[in-house]
Symmetry: C2
Subunit: 385 residues, 2 copies
Amino acid sequence: MITTPAGFLAGATTAGIKPSGKPDMALVVNQGPRFDAAAVFTRNRVVASPVKLSRQAVANGKLKAVVYNSGNANACTGAQGDKDAAAMVAAVSEQAGVTAADIAVCSTGLIGEPLPMEKVLAGIETVAHDLGADSAYAHAAAEAILTTDTVSKEAGYDGPGWTVGAMGKGVGMMAPSLATMLVCLTTDAVASAQALQSALQKASDLTFNTLDVDGSTSTNDTVVLLASGASGVEPSQEELDAAVLAVCSDLADQLQADAEGVTKRVKITVEGTGSDAQALNAARTLGRDNLFKCAMFGSDPNWGRVLAAVGMAEADMDPDNISVYFNDQPVCVASTGTPGAREVDLSGTDIDVRVDLGTGGAGTAFVRTTDLSHDYVEINSAYSS
Amino acid sequence: MITTPAGFLAGATTAGIKPSGKPDMALVVNQGPRFDAAAVFTRNRVVASPVKLSRQAVANGKLKAVVYNSGNANACTGAQGDKDAAAMVAAVSEQAGVTAADIAVCSTGLIGEPLPMEKVLAGIETVAHDLGADSAYAHAAAEAILTTDTVSKEAGYDGPGWTVGAMGKGVGMMAPSLATMLVCLTTDAVASAQALQSALQKASDLTFNTLDVDGSTSTNDTVVLLASGASGVEPSQEELDAAVLAVCSDLADQLQADAEGVTKRVKITVEGTGSDAQALNAARTLGRDNLFKCAMFGSDPNWGRVLAAVGMAEADMDPDNISVYFNDQPVCVASTGTPGAREVDLSGTDIDVRVDLGTGGAGTAFVRTTDLSHDYVEINSAYSS
């Protein structure tokens, strides 16, 4: 939980942004003594106002607070959106006594609607005066950032004399106009902004960035890592990397499991190509192929679709020497089906797919994806305003 | 119809490849006097044996016959697949008296299963001795190449003293393991292989290659254009281009309308970016975005998803100056929603989407796509063996 590491307070409230009346604002405050911070943001060129603001705030490697709202993404809201994000920061600064330049903003929810600022500002006033380090506060914050998630997501790591805590919501673009993956990590380790950024970037590449539900990328995705230094312990870069990776990996598993409309969790590994980047391209190409994803939904060991999909990847391959394994059973060798390939049992929730592109190259990578189900279509075709 | 142009015979039979017992083999024979031919094939690196064979057959710009089977794609079938495709050619050569080197093969259906060659060879013997130029023969051939298509697709063009005929099936990768777009065009115009290839490539780029149901690409896609010269009329390149484009455009419309699980036909135009190629990249990125496609299924004018999708395209854009039009109504201007944007009526079958990426650049392109429906998932998750 985000208040497990020493030096952190959290809180949550119901500001009334969500029509459902569920909690929709949270605040995380770092009390120091250090305020080192790192962040990774969406790769989308169209970014929401809070992302623009938060990029600037973290640019000097320092953050003292992050304010969250759910129910409205404040994305594609033009100059008004920029003003509203800045007004949220000003209110947090005033109410919580934190320098405005050290506050980040994360919003998630409907795109293209102006924030209901009266409610938002009243919510900030409420939450800023009800912060705590008790686990109940951390849980409440983890609840308040959810959109169509069915369960809240928290994770933690115990180092020797220091800890990491985390909360997260969403994944990729799963939800109806309620896009966005938001993650907040906290630690009481002593770590420079550079050390944090290095650990967070590496961990994100191996976890959140390998998680691909539908190939879509939100305008608001934000992962923040705050370090208070309150433990007085400075882990090595390797220790920090391992801790951040463990927490991100745990959250990524929870995000995948709760992805909208998911009935299958699919791990795709590609090997035998020219480079890791090529392997990642092929794994993503397969993970985004709707025919393959429908086959997974149907527990159908249809390896022909695997070959048809990877054949379009930008990766070195020997088209006559591709091998495919479902749950470690070879179903296609030398680009030809094996006896019994169509009888492989894929009825379980977890499916492991491995593809060897047959060049003998050392490139390898994996992604995690999900099936394409009736529920996915249902959730994402129902208008949500 | 493919036998409307002088010089062509067609036929069809039920060889028993399809479990359904529907017609599954067809043969098209060019009786000359000329045998100029052109073809375009799938861009997939994993290609079926008949594609490899047909590429070689048409390499010298000549084809005298094309043999079709449906129900089995003869793809990912290894060396046996190559042998089987060659055996089909040998049988056609023997039964129809056509030089083997001038025969192409097109197969569509399940990937990864060996062809039932006894049935296939018997089918060739039957069809080769029951060819005709009557429209009933052309219709029968158009029926026999279908897989999960619900209607057969034919088109034609009347030039001054010459004609073009065509049949087609499938589109992109819509069907359960029954992939593949196959198209056969015939003409009695006098035209060199170079003139035919130029016309066919340009027309394909503007029609079949702009048609994108799910972003998947078959191992077997093949478009063939055969010219008999029997009219004695040699159209200009411009006339030939226009005729081939008209026929391909007609077929593309039919293919889109019959795409599996389709409830919406969506045309996406992108403009205001650096080049036509960039515009095409952005249009394809949007056309393949599952969240956008689900919104179309739900008749939901969710322009935020349009911005989120094009924000990931490899195209020049001004992220703060993107405009979106649904059915010619502006729903987003300067990357901000317009009043009433969420009330735009998208309940009709045809939806027109236009996106201006806001750079002032002259690049423009369009693609045609479909929605992502419950039926798409149903059809593509049900195992089809």
